[in-house]
């Protein structure tokens, strides 16, 4: 099964490199997990997301290719 890596960036302030990854059957499974993880993370940011922040979850395969990304952009006004 292919291994996918879920890397999180929160503007320039926090970058979380996934060095373990997870084995998943296919890209669709990775997409499902990414959307769920993004939603759960946003919930937990709990005020830590500032206006003009750019929260990003990038999913990569083992060879470093980016499969997709989910970004949440906050803005004031």
């Amino acid at each position: 099964m292919p291994r996918f890596y879920f890397n999180v960036r929160n503007g320039d302030r926090l970058s979380d490199q996934d060095d373990l990854g997870q084995e998943l059957p296919d890209q669709h499974a990775a997409w499902e997990i990414a959307t769920r993880y993004a939603g759960d993370s946003l919930r937990d940011l709990d005020g830590d997301l500032q206006p003009e922040d750019d929260w990003r979850l990038e999913v990569q395969t083992e060879d470093g290719a980016r499969v997709f990304a989910i970004s949440i952009r906050a803005s004031q006004g």
Binding site: D40, S41, D44
Partner: protein
């Protein structure tokens, strides 16, 4: 297996949490229990099954869980030696959830008929069973609050402390360290998050110097920060007869 080893954790817990009477201890010691070994990650009783026995955990860890239509599983509670996770099946005849082992486990089965005769002749034991199931409910209430309201790191810390306090009663906490034999996937299922997120939270808690979880063993790094993060109030465990 000697009889005292089978019932030891159960009696220890009841002595502390319920001040069990000596004659009731003798009743429990005399209970016919059929002991069987189960491998890890194996169903003991399934959702929809009509049970005829109750299961006492003699050794090992089990979980109760429910799987929804999409195939996603929610772990509802973690169970340790001395507990009878399906005691309710005495009165709720069809299981509404799954009971499975996490680790290889030694399980003791007591027939419903035996238990019914027991609590009918011993009001003290009937009360204790009743209290046990009520404490179960209190734990579910806290689980709902935990999964519903706490951010993931606090959620994990809370589940860890809850497990620790229950293991402490049966003497399985070693200098603040204890077993929590769940995979990251299972931790995700308990907390309502993905395994990826669970992995992240575990790493974060270690990096912040609060607690580490390694190969199913929890090692507390900073007790004060650990408790503060978990927002843990042990009253809901009712671990004394006055609570």
């Amino acid at each position: 297996m000697p009889s005292d080893a089978i019932r030891a954790a159960l009696i220890k817990r009841l002595r502390i949490s319920s001040a069990i009477a000596e004659e009731d201890i003798r009743e429990i010691e005399a209970l016919p229990i059929s002991v069987r070994q189960y491998p890890a990650e194996t169903a003991v009783v399934r959702d929809g099954e009509r049970a005829t026995e109750c299961c006492l955990i003699v050794d090992g860890f089990c979980v109760r869980s429910k799987t929804i239509a999409s195939g996603k599983r929610q772990i509802l509670s973690i169970h340790i030696p001395g507990e009878i996770p399906d005691l309710m099946s005495l009165f709720l005849h069809v299981m509404d959830h799954d009971l499975s082992t996490l680790t290889p486990s030694t399980l003791g089965f007591i027939s419903h008929e035996t238990l019914q005769k027991l609590h009918r002749r011993s009001p003290g034991i009937a009360e204790m069973f009743w209290r046990d199931t009520l404490i179960d409910s209190a734990m579910f209430r806290e689980w709902i609050v935990n999964v519903g309201q706490r951010p993931a790191p606090a959620r994990l810390a809370h589940v860890m402390i809850e497990l620790r306090e229950r293991l402490r009663i049966i003497g399985r906490v070693d200098g603040g360290n204890f077993d929590m034999p769940l995979t990251q996937e299972q931790i995700g299922e308990a907390l309502g998050i993905t395994a990826v997120h669970a992995n992240r939270v575990i790493r974060q808690l270690r990096q912040d110097g609060i607690v580490e979880l390694n190969r199913g063993r929890v090692n507390v790094l900073d007790e004060r920060k650990f408790q503060e993060l978990a927002d843990f109030d042990n009253r809901y465990l009712h671990q004394s007869p006055t609570l």
